[in-house]
Amino acid sequence: MGLIKKLPVYMEKFPGGGLVTTSLNYVFNQSQASSLWYLLFGTACCAIELMATGASRYDFDRLGMIFRASPRQSDLIIAAGTITKKMAPRLRLLYDQMAEPRYVIAMGGCTVGGGPFYYDSYAVEKGIDHIVPVDVYIPGCPPRPESLLEGCITLQKKIKQQKLEDWG
């Protein structure tokens, strides 16, 4: 991806070069946002709502999202469910195995900040943002499928604002 990063610098020197860079921006961002493949990762209650969102009433496939079982084939982790201290290194391992560009959605109260287990629990990680960098937070316990779809659309909006210089 080094060539893509340097491309805007060269293209801007030519007349009309800016048009090419913005068109390339648009094409890359659109194609990436329209087919995010998410990793099947669900530990607790939010995983059932994730499955229900992928089923026929609230369909994930209309946003282009399909589940993959292997982290090497996916570019999004929807962390659904409580992450405990024992599970935290495994989540980091999965995140490290994904290829860039990669995104993380923190779904549900437990991943945002501990949720109902913030007080009095000795084994729960209070929020996943000190394990992996999070792009979108979706509160709720569990969040409704409409909230999850809104979160994914927010992520798509965030992707569409990316620039070529930020890649890599």
Binding site: K85, K86, Y118, Y119, D120, Y122, A123
Partner: protein, 157 residues
């Protein structure tokens, strides 16, 4: 057998080795006075024809603030009745005998008691880390006097 017949039968059979507790509300609740008698008690209630306690529902430990208690809930599938019994012990030197030869399902329940409370289990064979992370070194978390730096208690309203 209903509740009263069951209570009477158990008191007649074991006489002074067990004692009926007043705190049991629904089913008969007994206290076993001597911790060494636990294994023979369990064997006898499983093999007795009228009791036939072949299903172990639950083993749980309690920290009352002054002592440990270990509670056993058993049921009978053939006779369709249920009763409970418990052991009490002090904090120092707390240990129980393993009953996994009698009910195979007791294995994981006893392992959990050891891990979370620190009550030693004799003749278990596999007392290793179970529910907590592998590098846990902060003691036995379910005890009432346990504390840790990142453990937050919910404030009183």
């Amino acid at each position: 057998m209903n509740r009263d017949e069951l209570t009477q039968y158990l008191l007649d059979k074991f006489q002074d080795k067990i004692e009926l507790l007043e705190t049991g509300r629904v089913e008969p609740f007994f206290l076993i006075k001597d911790a060494d008698y636990l294994k023979s008690f369990c064997r006898e209630i499983k093999e007795d024809i009228k009791l036939a306690a072949d299903f172990l529902c639950n083993i749980g430990a309690v920290d009352t603030g002054e002592r440990f208690e270990v509670v056993y809930n058993v049921a009978s599938i053939r006779k369709k009745h249920r009763f409970d019994f418990k052991l009490v012990m002090d904090y120092e030197g707390a240990e129980i005998d393993s009953v996994q030869e009698i009910w195979a399902g007791a294995n994981w329940y006893e392992r959990e008691i050891w891990e979370l409370y620190g009550i030693n289990v004799k003749n278990h064979g596999n007392l290793t880390r179970f529910l907590l992370p592998d590098d846990w070194d902060q003691g036995f978390p379910m005890r009432k006097d346990w504390d840790a730096p990142d453990f937050k208690r919910m404030p009183e309203v």
